[in-house]
Structures are given as C-alpha cells and as structure tokens.
C-alpha cells in the first residue's frame, strides 16, 4: 500500500525538481531574454485624446530604432501603453497596473497636471521614473526625490513669456478665464505680475468649472471688465464652448489660448468666423536642432509639434539613462539621466547615436528635439522656445518662434 503511493510521489518530486532546475537556468542561456518593458501612460481619450496617441507613436518610433540597433542591455524593448483617460482616478489605476503588475522602471507621458499630480506620488514611492508634459508649477515642487522630469516649461516660465507677448501686442486690458486645474492660479498670478511690469494690466480673472454645456454667465462676467484680450486658459472641449459664447456675445477683442486648447480639430469643428484671429501659443520644438530633423524623418511628419518632440526626448532619455546605469530600474534612471543629457560629453541627437557612444565608454550630452533637455535639480527644463500662431480663415498662420 505504502509502496504504491511512494512511487508516484518520487516521480512527482523528480519531475518537479527537473522543472525547477530548468526554471533556474538563466534565461540568457536559453536564448530568450525577457523583453525590457517601459510604461507609457498618455491620455488616449478625454481632453488630451488629441495629443496622447501622437506622443505614444513618437515614443514607439524611437524604441523601434533602439530595437533595430540591438535593444537595451541586450534586451528587446517593449512599450506597455495604458490610457490615463485625462482623468486622475483612471490614471492612478493604470499607473498601479504598470508599477505593480508590469513592474516597469519608467512611466512616460502624463499630460494633464491633475493626472501627473495624482500619479507622481505613486511613482516616487515605488521608485518608478516619471516623465511628463504637465505644466503646473506645483508638480516639480512635490517631494519626488528626483524620480520626475518634465520637458514642458513650467507655468511660471510659460505665463511670464505669454504675458510679455501680450503686452508687446499693445494690449492694455487683459482678462483671464481659466479652467479649474492646478495651473490656473499660478498662471494668473505670474501673468498679472509681468503684465504690470510691462505697462499692461490684468483687469480680472475667473476660474470656471469644467464639463459645463455653456459658459454664458462667465462670458458676461468677463465682458463687464471691457478687456482688449481674453486669455482662455483651458482645454479644447471647454475653450470651444467659450469661443462660441464669446462670438455670440459679440466680443470684438483678441483671444489668446494654448495650442492644446485650440487644435486643428477645434478649428474644423467651429465655423471660421468664430475662430478668426485667435492667437495660440505653445512651447516650441527646437526646429533648428538636428534632433528635430531626425524626429521629422523618423515620424514621417513635416512638422512634429512640441508634444511629439517631447515624447521623442523621453524615450531617448530613458533609453540612454538605462544604458548608462547598466540596469533597468527607476533609481538607475534617476541617478543617470543628468549624466547623459547635460555636461561636457559629446553632443548626440538621437538615442541610437548615444547608445553607440555609451557602448564605447564615452560621455554623452543628449540634445533633444524639443530643446536642449537640461534639467534643474527639481526636474524642470532650464529654457525653451515658444511658437505663436494666429488663426486666419480656419488655418494656423505662424506669427513667430521666440
């Protein structure tokens, strides 16, 4: 009786032992090294749904090049793409999945400031590196211990430059309508300051609730101050409604908005007379940089915009930092990212160029398609250019890049 049960048990132990041993053989010997997974968390839906998919595509293009050149740390790189839905709650769930299930060393791509503010604490707690385009000043002031960089100029830098431009247009009375978001107050404060210094004036400001079907009363409040220019500091769905309501109210003055709020799709969705003359601003890609030229070819787009170039730079910076660290961890990326993008190393303009030099043991300085990619201690970029467009007959016409 005993013997009969012992035999299968032995056979089981032998099989289990053999299986365990095969499992213990390093995967490299078996020639099937697991791919290196990097997280992408962009808005594929919601207010950021226009930029998110393009950013993901730009990152994928860089990673395809890296893979074609042999991958990272001899492993193929795979992007695991999640949708943050431009919604902090959905973003937190997606980020948790990337960190806890996929165990990525880096998450690239958060867009809305509210989303980044929600995801960033999870990242630094789990030592995951985060790259973002969100502009709210508060983001880099979080205690992120270096696990965060942003390639987008912060609000302070942006608001200051915008106000200088507005004052230079000869505007004397500016009104600001902002969506309820972390960037609303700081942008208002800084723009008010700079307008005053330049001899102009912020005659009023209001913060409106998102997801409303009409902003007639808000428009009335703005028009009571007789502004020459209204700065529409929101996202596309609400700015579209504001533009309609301003037109209906017969407002004759200038309108100024971020380029993500007045996109080509917004122009298509509104009659030309409603959008005529709207001025848009965006942090500009460094159009004179060789990295920009490479991004153009890689993406097959005549003029990659700021978001596509920033996404290009994240995928490059993260790849180079992993190669420099020789380990794919968030901490490795954090400790090495500034060693590959600033300093006296050889200037490189793409990830594969940098990887080649790093493999030869050389020092590099990655210069990006979005700008020089030099970061302060808290993860902000030091300088960047801005592109100003004007809407003429339903099309964007360049005013200047400065």
């Amino acid at each position: 009786m005993l013997d009969r049960t012992r035999e299968p048990r032995r056979r089981f132990l032998k099989t289990a032992g053999a299986l365990a041993l095969t499992g213990m053989v390093p995967t490299i010997v078996r020639g099937e090294e697991a791919p290196l997974q990097l997280g992408v968390l962009t808005p594929l839906t919601g207010a950021g749904g226009f930029d998110g998919p393009r950013m993901a595509k730009a990152m994928q293009a860089v990673i395809d090049e890296v893979n074609a050149a042999g991958g990272l740390l001899k492993r193929k790189v795979v992007l695991v793409i999640e949708d943050d839905q431009t919604n902090p709650e959905a973003a937190v769930r997606a980020a948790r999945k990337l960190m806890d299930v996929t165990k990525v060393p880096a998450i690239m791509g958060t867009w809305a400031s509210a989303v980044t503010s929600a995801v960033a604490p999870l990242c630094w707690e789990s030592r995951t590196f985060l790259t973002t385009v969100s502009g709210a000043d508060s983001i880099t002031k979080l205690p992120h211990q270096g696990y965060l960089i942003r390639t987008q100029p912060n609000n302070y830098l942006q608001a200051g430059k915008h106000a200088e431009f507005i004052a230079a247009m000869g505007v004397k009375r500016c009104f600001m309508m902002s969506i309820q978001a972390p960037f609303a107050e700081p942008t208002q404060t800084r723009a008010t300051e700079v307008l005053k210094q330049k001899g102009s004036q912020m005659v009023g400001a209001l913060i409106y609730d998102k997801d409303k079907t009409t902003y007639r009363s808000e428009v009335d409040e703005a028009l009571r101050t007789n502004p020459d220019l209204i700065y529409l500091n929101g996202y596309a769905p609400d700015v579209t409604i504001l533009l309609r309501d301003l037109y209906r109210a017969g407002y004759p003055g200038a309108r100024f908005a971020q380029s993500y709020a007045v996109t080509t799709k917004v122009l298509e969705s509104l009659p030309n007379e409603v959008t005529e003359g709207v001025i848009t601003v965006q942090p500009s890609a460094d159009v004179s940089s060789p990295a920009y030229e490479l991004a153009r070819k890689r993406l097959g787009i005549a003029e990659p915009d700021s978001y596509e170039t920033q996404a290009t730079d994240w995928a490059s910076l993260v790849s180079l930092a992993i190669a420099k660290a020789n380990v794919a961890t968030g901490t490795g990326i954090r400790d090495n990212v500034r060693k590959i993008c600033q300093g006296n190393g050889t200037k490189v303009y793409s990830a594969i160029e940098g990887l080649k030099l790093l493999a030869q043991g050389k020092e590099i300085n990655y210069e990006g398609a979005s700008g020089p990619c030099d970061f302060t201690d808290i993860g902000d970029i030091i300088d960047c250019k801005f592109r100003y467009n004007k809407v003429v007959a339903g099309k964007f016409v360049l005013i200047k890049v400065a």
Binding site: D211, K212, T213, S217, E218, R248
Partner: protein, 290 residues
C-alpha cells in the same frame, strides 16, 4: 452688488440650460418610473443621439429638425436593442445589479462610438448666430431654438401620456405594475416603449447639448451627473418633476454665480440634491409618474 439686469440675465441663462437638461432628465425618470432602475446607459445614448444627429446634419446635409428627429429615433432604437439584449436579463437580479450593468453598458457603447468616430471634437454644420439684445438681457437665437425644440418635445410627451392609450398604459405600469398586469397590460411591451422614448429623449438631449457645444464620445458622460441631479431633485419617477428639477438645477447653478466663484457651479446641483433629499426625500414632486 449685482444689478437687476445681472440677475435677469443669469435667470435667463439658467432657464435655457435647465430646459435642455430637462429632456434627458425626463428620459431617465420615465425609465425609472416604469422599469424601476436608474439607467446610467442614458449617458452613452445621449452621445449616440448626438452622433446620429451629426451624421444626419454634417454628413448627409439635413437641416436641424430632421437631424434632431433622427437623433431621437436612432438613440431610441439602440435603447430598445440594448435593453432587450443586455439590461432585461439583469432586471430579475434587482435594481442595483441592473443599474451597475447599465454603467458597464454605457462604457461599452461609448467605446463603440469612439471606435467608429474617433476621439476628436466635432461640430454640427450650422452657422453660429450673434445674440439678440433685449435691453440689458442677451438671448441667443440658437438657444431659443433649442428651447423651442425641448418645449415641443415635452408638450408632445405630456400629450402622449395624457391622451393616448399607450401613454395611459405606461402610467398605469409606473403606478402599479401588479394592477396593470391584472388589467391585461403587457408590461414587456410597455417596457420596450419606455426604453425607446426614454433613450430617444436622451439622444435628443445629447444633440441639443451638442448644438450648443461640440460633440465627442464623452458628451453624454459629461452631462449625466447634472441630468441625474435634475431627476433626483424633481423626484425620480415623476416626469413633471424632472422638468422642475432641471429648471431648479439650471437656474440654481447660474444664480449661485451672484455670490460664488464659477468653479463651484457643479457643486450647486449636488447641494440641491442634499437639501431636497433631506427636507423632502421623495424629491420636489414625489414619486408618482405624471
């Protein structure tokens, strides 16, 4: 100190917003009255209506009124189909299960719209007109048009419920399903009619919202909370209540701007729910349909 003109303007804006909110709120409350569950799939049906109207208007070149009718019809048909195929099976498991299923359904439908049309914003092919000025009050011609469409729809619905045999049967089922079935009223058929009407109204409401703004797959989802607030404030299950609730929420949200910053506007709808449910748990006009 706000002037009388400001108060008047805010009240006018509130009535406009409230009337448009009333159309889908009636749909929600009618479905609740007959089928006894809050159907959150209303959000995606509003979106479907908005897109059906968009296809009719921007792609097929139809004018406003036929487009609005198509929005109503398509959303209504989808409403009946999804109710038959999905929600009906959940109803025996209780209203909470069915309500949760309706949330899942709305996400699925919203994504079908996203898959078919993409994420970008779209606008109807209608000119935008400047507002009329009546003294100090500013009124938009399009909003008056929307108001008229909403008002005609509501009058037609009230007439249907008051004077037609089917309308009376619907009220009977809402009032007392047991008694109605004893009288030989087919509750299943009435359920289908109410799904058609309710979701049709959601679709029409979605298009009215879209006429004032732009549409994208989240159009319905963005307004569902206000619609729900309107129906609850008015008394879930009461159709005149939905109208009163929508006007209360609409005017309340606007008038609060006299002493609150605009970013608290949404909170007003929910404060209204709290107040009404605390003081009168059945909502302003109780729970009786019609």
């Amino acid at each position: 100190m706000p002037s009388l003109g400001d108060v008047g303007q805010l009240a006018v804006n509130g009535v406009m917003a409230g009337t448009i909110l009333a159309v889908p709120a009636i749909g929600l409350t009618a479905i609740y009255a007959v089928l006894r569950f809050p159907n959150f799939a209303l959000a995606s049906h509003a979106t479907i209506g908005a897109f059906a109207g968009y296809v009719a208007n921007a792609r097929l070149g139809l004018t406003l009124v036929p487009s609005v009718l198509i929005a109503f019809f398509v959303a209504g048909v989808v409403g009946v189909a999804t109710d038959e195929a999905v929600l009906k099976r959940f109803r025996p498991a209780g209203y909470i299960t069915t309500a949760i299923a309706s949330i899942a359904l709305t996400i699925a439908l919203e994504n079908i719209v996203r898959f078919s049309f993409g994420n970008e914003l779209r606008g109807y092919d209608l000119p935008i007109q400047r507002d009329w000025r009546l003294g100090v009050i500013r009124i938009g011609p399009q909003q008056v048009q929307n108001l008229a469409i909403a008002a005609v729809t509501m009058v037609a619905l009230f007439a249907f419920l008051a004077f037609t045999r089917t309308g009376k049967a619907m009220r009977a089922v809402a009032d007392n399903p047991m008694l109605a079935s004893i009288k030989g009223i087919n509750a299943d058929a009435i359920g289908r009619i109410v799904s058609f009407l309710g979701m049709g109204l959601a679709g029409l409401g979605g298009m009215l919202i879209g006429l004032d703004t732009t549409i994208d797959p989240l159009t319905g989802f963005r307004s569902i909370l206000s619609v729900f607030a309107a129906a609850v404030v008015g008394g879930l299950g009461s159709i005149p209540g939905a109208v009163v609730g929508a006007l209360t929420v609409g005017v309340g949200e606007e008038l609060c701007l006299l002493f609150l910053s605009p970013d608290y506007r949404s909170a007003v709808g929910f404060v209204a729910i709290l107040l009404v449910l605390t003081l009168r748990p059945r909502g302003i006009l109780g729970q009786r349909a019609y």
